[in-house]
Symmetry: C2
Subunit: 178 residues, 2 copies
Amino acid sequence: MTLDELIVSRRSVRQYNEKKVERDKIESLVNAAIWAPTAGNLQLLHFVVVRDKGVIEKVKLFSPGMPKTAPCVIAICADLEEARLRGGEFAEKNTPVDSAFAAQNILLKAHQIRLGACVVKSYNKKSIGRILKLPGAMMVLMLITVGYYDKRPKAPARKSLSEVLHYENWESEMKQDE
Amino acid sequence: MTLDELIVSRRSVRQYNEKKVERDKIESLVNAAIWAPTAGNLQLLHFVVVRDKGVIEKVKLFSPGMPKTAPCVIAICADLEEARLRGGEFAEKNTPVDSAFAAQNILLKAHQIRLGACVVKSYNKKSIGRILKLPGAMMVLMLITVGYYDKRPKAPARKSLSEVLHYENWESEMKQDE
């Protein structure tokens, strides 16, 4: 698939089958994440990958946003105290945003290798941190469920370009031509 | 290029040449952004694309993080009051994060069509909002400079997988095998 095809045909997949996600697949996902840009190139993100069913059930208990089942959960984490120490307020504020750059690479790579994935933003940070035994100020910034799936969800409609693209400024959009 | 090649060979490009970024290229960038996931599928992001040199100079005055010159600046914006109204605190908090999912698609698509791009997170929100004539509670979440370039920057070193990838939990990483 071309990049455009990958981008457009990617879906948030929330229903997975039982097949285990292989270690080499996980490594290719996290490798894609590593190459996303980070604020000040600080590279503070860590990736805790959970495949143990018992641990996933525990994570699910504290994650109302999680799909019913998932064979694999990737927790993107960072130490925001380290962020502040190394890059000041700027890094502390932007490192959580960095997790989304990394996540989008994971979503595209997952789709390319026929894995489904879904971002989970609704979870209890402290509880998940404890379950994953995160040290000190390391905290979960985002969860991504990953797994194989039998049925690809339909695409939710997207706004058209003309609804969201503005040239030069908000008001002059109708005057623009090439 | 394969997705892996695109992801790994993308750079933050901060030096551009004078060539204008064509409208169809801009549309392909914003179209890639539209297909990124958004919190609650609310699709609140707008994209204000500036190519006017005078406006870009004004934006630069209030953006210490911006490269010296850029033939094109994409401002990713959203109305966070609308976010709160439609999706509560969850959407208000996560819509800024959505801008990074969209931005990563823009960065990858730019690289694929041989454009350089760089995310700018350090800027004066109010001033840039005024320059772009944003209405009401619409605000700038991220700037991306875009342009053609003569020289591709070298890759900054990345951490290795083993430094950032942990299995099951933070402490058990050394025990994992397949």
